[in-house]
């Protein structure tokens, strides 16, 4: 670990000012500290935001929820409104990490956790994300857990979060405060960038930005599922995960929101899938078409080829469960 300066932010301005000057924001530290120990990230200084008043969950005027950036994954998963109205989120959170980690991990930190690509974590390896221009060692290496959608020749990393996948399906909005004290709102889908030629740039946040909260719109009436496929029963990242909210009325699909984890560099949403499903009677053939749309551009890199058929099967199972169409 490289030596670093530590500062505790008493105000948001402290945090954004320090961050603007290059400090890494530390919340739960469950990802940042690991990366610092391995020197994958070597900030000169860190600013601790844990004393800021960002730890509450409040009902918004629109009837949605405002989740403070410092709300822990455990508290969010256990919150009664979340369990009742945003079940998919509670389930996604509980499917992630371990109880100990969830007690420390925060909402803001979870959104910004970095890929688990093994080459990214090992400073002896070339990696365009960690050291731009050095190459992507994963493409022809061990890429079992990496992405098949939205990749580029420069990086095929997958985004590891479960929480963000559920939030994506819930149309979450990220509330950000800049170093000049102004607050702005970014649709979660617009928070993340695809790797393209600059895999080191992962979000649209600017230096000095502090995530203050995540806003969920008013709950929709729909059946909700978070399904996570992984190598062991717990404490493993998703190979494929799906957050889904679906409602069937008069034999036709009237609500559909789907987001995917484990498949792409960001929590993945494709509105064409939902458009295809809307207004149609659920059937195995329809689900296949949905999977076709999801996977048309999918590209495997060897070890992760299996994710493509796995995603198809998992999507079909999720849709059939939610619409009660038997396979």
């Amino acid at each position: 670990m490289k030596s670093f300066e530590y500062a505790r932010a008493e105000t948001r301005l402290d945090a954004t000012t320090d961050a603007r000057n290059g400090a890494a924001i530390i919340a739960g530290g469950t990802n940042l500290l690991d990366l610092m120990k391995l020197e994958v990230m070597t900030p000169q200084s860190i600013v601790d935001i844990n004393r800021l008043d960002l730890g509450t969950i409040d009902v918004t005027e629109e009837g949605g929820l405002r989740i403070g950036a410092l709300v822990t994954n455990s508290d969010l998963a256990g919150h009664s409104t979340v369990k009742r109205d945003y079940e998919v989120l509670s389930r996604a959170l509980l499917a992630g990490a371990s109880a100990q980690l969830r007690n420390k991990a925060t909402t803001g930190g979870n959104l910004l956790q970095r890929t688990r690509c093994g080459y990214f974590y090992d400073t002896a390896m070339p990696c365009n994300k960690r050291a731009p221009g050095t190459g992507c060692q994963a493409k022809e290496g061990f890429n079992r857990s990496l992405a098949v959608l939205g990749t580029s020749e420069h990086c095929i990393a997958s985004h590891p979060s479960d929480m963000a996948v559920a939030m994506m399906a819930l149309n979450a909005i990220v509330e950000v405060e800049g170093h000049d004290g102004t607050s702005r709102q970014i649709a979660l889908n617009d928070l993340y960038c695809l790797p393209g030629t600059t895999p080191d740039i992962e979000t649209t946040l600017q230096p000095g930005d502090l995530i203050t909260a995540v806003r969920l719109p008013k709950p929709v009436e729909a059946s909700q599922i978070y399904r996570k496929v992984r190598d062991r029963s717990s404490y493993a990242f998703a190979l494929v995960s799906i957050a889904a909210l679906v409602k069937v009325e008069d034999g036709k699909i009237s609500t559909a929101a789907l987001a995917f984890g484990g498949l792409a560099p960001k929590p993945w949403r494709n509105s064409e899938i939902e458009a295809e499903l809307m207004g149609k009677a659920p059937s195995n053939a329809l689900f296949d078409r949905a999977a076709d749309i999801l996977l048309t551009d999918a590209q495997g890199y060897g070890e992760n080829d299996f994710k493509i058929p796995l995603a198809r099967r998992t999507l079909k199972a999720v849709l059939s469960t939610l619409t009660e169409v038997s396979q």
């Binding site: 030596s3 404490y235 796995l310 099967r313 998992t314």
Partner: protein, 733 residues
């Protein structure tokens, strides 16, 4: 006084005649409360704060030579004290029982991750930062071999391991049923909770090493030889070890590095491996490639067994995964054929990991038996029962005791095996395909030379002293039980001191021989003390009944504490003898597993497991059961998740952390039942016990993959059976 026994003949059931009643009874580990309250200090925790801290520097090439290290720049970093590149540093960890220095010389690089230097600094963080940023130049040799299946790998074929009996080819041709299948298992790591760690300090010419090790009498000589000093000047301490599983049998690189640095700096030096270093620089279990051939007649009686194994290790390493160990004696069959090939590769050193040989060999053998049972339409339990040999099938030897049949039938009954649907893929609960599978378990039994001192104090308390280690298995507890039973004293009057080479040398923990070997030394010492007590009373030791410190001899009661006027002390010394050669000693068992395989995703969840075992006298039912539970959980990992992934471009281990190297977590482990049959083995040792530490893993994973086949009809022959491999065989949706 020394009581010496060489095991040349079978032994009477002495422990059964004792009165205390503590032997065999389920007794919690005495080190348990110390561990959960943090009072048991591990190697990384000892010291008074004055020590310097070292961090190993890893090679980042697969093969070549270090041409220079920029020491000036590194020494200029904050907190850095020195850089050790001494030629005596270890390149490879020592194999179990090496008893001499392993491969030394950190400048020549034989594998990615090999230690090439030690940076010593004031704090762990300083040392780690410097080790991470040290600038090294290499001369890279282009001919590194990282794929053991690659035809370019140099292959060795040890003559003694190429065995032909009869004619397997014609037996296969003439067979009513036959199997000829290839299985592969990946590299693995023991992943013990406590990372390898050492702290060393010198007092003049004498060095003390407090470390995490399994076999101290050998480790002491390994350290002395590595440093080039007299073993008399080396003391090794390892009172608490947080798991070893074979990875701490021999000295690891951090130990010698700590000693060299402490000498140079004239102050204690601590070196703790990070988790990635544990994966990269301590023993891995070799990946294996195995071809199994089985031939059987109409009745399912084996007429031939063939087991061809290809394993890997670094050039020059003597150890090679002894894949076919159990195949030699488990089943009958006249025609037998074995080959054993070692591919020389540039990968992390391969060595012993829990049940070397059986743990991987039985995966293949027991899968092949399942394939044969299926093809022949014979129940898998019945197939095994039909092939239990009377005597050793390859040598002119009797078994010392043999309860496989009983394990199989008892297990089948307890598990409800008769309810099994033999048609694969026939049982479904919603999305889940349900299946059951079984396998035999077998593990050879070993006795090693061991010594222990037992002191019977005049207040009728006892001290047991030996350099034996307790690596989390229960050694502290069972040695107290043995002494308590023999001397008729409750356990709270017995102190057990372990893990110090100043005590008499024991056998160490490994190969499941620890309890039988060191326990026998304690037993023998106690037997001598019983004779001395008898002498004090002028009677024969056979006439003594001692319980709770009261002696009854010829209808007269005496109190031990009053009888003793001084401390009595004896050293027990056991040595293996003819019974190791003239009879075949092994432990046996049967595994049963039920799995649910998700028909959508191919995810496998183990629903329940049962193991029925026979291992001679059980010294402590609770710790023995825990050992078998642990072994069976290892079996879950081997079957479903564990794989050390080498990037074949440079051999480096990609998943060198516990987030990505998947050992089973709580939720992966179902209700596990481990049952022991009542047995005595009079040929094994004077306690008539046998080893249990590795029996539980032997065959366990095969029961699970056999259950996957029963559930789905998918035969995964390439371990671990991750969901992608199962998925390939599942029906379309």
């Amino acid at each position: 006084m020394t009581a010496h026994l060489k095991m040349n003949e079978s032994q009477p059931p002495v422990l059964d005649e004792m009165a205390q009643g503590v032997i065999g009874t389920p007794t919690p580990r005495r080190d348990g409360p110390l561990k959960v309250t943090g009072q048991a200090t591990y190697a990384a925790e000892v010291g008074d704060g004055t020590e310097a801290v070292g961090m190993l520097v890893r090679a980042t090439i697969a093969k070549g030579r270090v041409t220079s290290i920029d020491e000036t720049a590194t020494l200029a970093l904050p907190g850095v004290l020195t850089i050790i590149t001494d030629e005596r540093m270890l390149r490879n960890p020592a194999q179990g029982g090496a008893n001499e220095a392993p491969v030394q010389g950190p400048r020549d690089v034989a594998y990615f991750g090999q230690p090439i230097a030690l940076v010593v600094a004031e704090t762990f963080e300083h040392a780690r930062h410097a080790a991470q940023n040290i600038s090294v130049t290499y001369e890279i040799l282009p001919d590194a071999i990282t794929d053991f299946l690659d035809g370019d790998a140099p292959i060795e074929r040890p003559a003694a391991k190429q065995i032909e009996q009869g004619d397997i080819e014609s037996a296969m041709r003439d067979a009513a049923f036959s199997v000829d299948a290839t299985y592969t298992t990946p590299s693995q790591n023991s992943a013990a909770m406590e990372p390898h760690a050492s702290i060393a300090w010198w007092d003049g010419e004498k060095v003390t090493l407090h470390s995490s090790l399994q076999m101290l009498k050998f480790n002491r000589n390994e350290l002395a030889d590595s440093l080039g000093i007299d073993p008399e000047n080396v003391r090794v301490l390892a009172p608490y070890v947080g798991g070893g599983f074979g990875s701490k049998l021999g000295l690891a690189p951090e130990a010698v590095a700590a000693a060299l640095a402490a000498k140079e700096l004239g102050r204690p030096v601590r070196v703790v491996m990070t988790r990635p270093q544990v994966f990269e620089t301590t023993m891995r279990r070799s990946a294996t490639h195995q071809r199994l051939r089985l031939a059987a007649n109409e009745q399912g009686e084996l007429t031939a067994i063939g087991h061809d194994a290809l394993v890997s290790n670094l050039p020059g390493e003597a150890f090679s995964e002894p894949v076919a160990l159990a195949t030699h004696f488990l089943y009958a069959g006249k025609n037998r054929s074995y080959s054993h090939q070692i591919a020389r590769v540039n990968l992390t050193c391969a060595g012993s990991m829990r049940a070397p040989g059986e743990a991987v060999g039985m995966l293949a053998l027991e899968n092949a038996m399942d394939e044969l049972a299926h093809d022949a339409g014979i129940d898998p339990v019945e197939l095994r029962l039909r092939n239990i040999p009377e005597d050793h099938p390859e040598k002119d030897k009797k078994f010392s005791s043999h309860c496989l049949a009983d394990c199989l039938t008892t297990g089948a009954k307890r598990f409800g095996w008769e309810k099994r649907n033999p048609t694969p893929g026939a049982v479904r609960e919603g999305e889940w395909l349900i299946g059951v599978g079984m396998s035999s378990a077998a593990r050879g039994n070993i006795l090693h030379e061991a010594k222990a001192r037992v002191i019977l104090h005049s207040d009728a308390t006892v001290s047991v002293e030996t350099d034996m280690t307790d690596i989390g298995t229960g050694t502290y507890t069972i040695l107290a039980q043995i002494a308590g039973e023999m001397l008729g004293l409750p356990l709270d009057r017995i102190e057990v001191k372990l893990g110090d080479t100043d005590f008499p040398p024991a056998a160490g923990s490994g190969g499941s021989w620890g309890a039988g070997s060191t326990g026998s030394a304690v037993f023998l010492a106690c037997q001598t003390l019983r004779s001395e007590i008898a002498d004090l009373l002028g009677t024969d030791p056979a006439e003594l009944t001692i319980k709770d410190g009261s002696i009854i001899s010829g209808n007269v009661q005496h109190e031990l504490a009053q009888l003793l006027t001084r401390d009595l002390s004896a050293i027990g010394h056991i040595e293996p003898g003819k019974t190791s050669d003239e009879v075949e000693q092994a432990t046996f068992g049967a595994h049963f597993a039920e799995v649910a395989v998700n028909a959508v995703t191919g995810e496998t969840r183990v629903r329940r497991m049962l193991g029925v075992f026979s291992a001679g006298r059980i010294l402590n039912m609770q710790t023995a059961r825990s050992q078998c539970h642990g072994g069976m959980i290892f079996g879950i990992g081997s079957a479903l998740t564990e794989e050390l992934v080498h990037d074949l471009r440079d051999g480096h281990i990609v998943n060198h952390n516990l987030a990505e190297y998947h050992v089973p977590v709580n939720l992966d482990v179902p209700q596990i039942d481990a049952v022991f049959l009542e047995e005595r083995d009079s040929w094994a040792n004077p306690m008539q016990s046998k080893g249990v530490g590795e029996l539980g893993i032997s065959g366990a994973g095969a029961a699970i993959t056999n259950a996957i086949f029963n559930a789905t009809g998918v035969r995964v022959r390439d371990y671990p059976a991750t969901l992608d491999k199962v998925l390939k065989g599942l029906p379309e949706m």
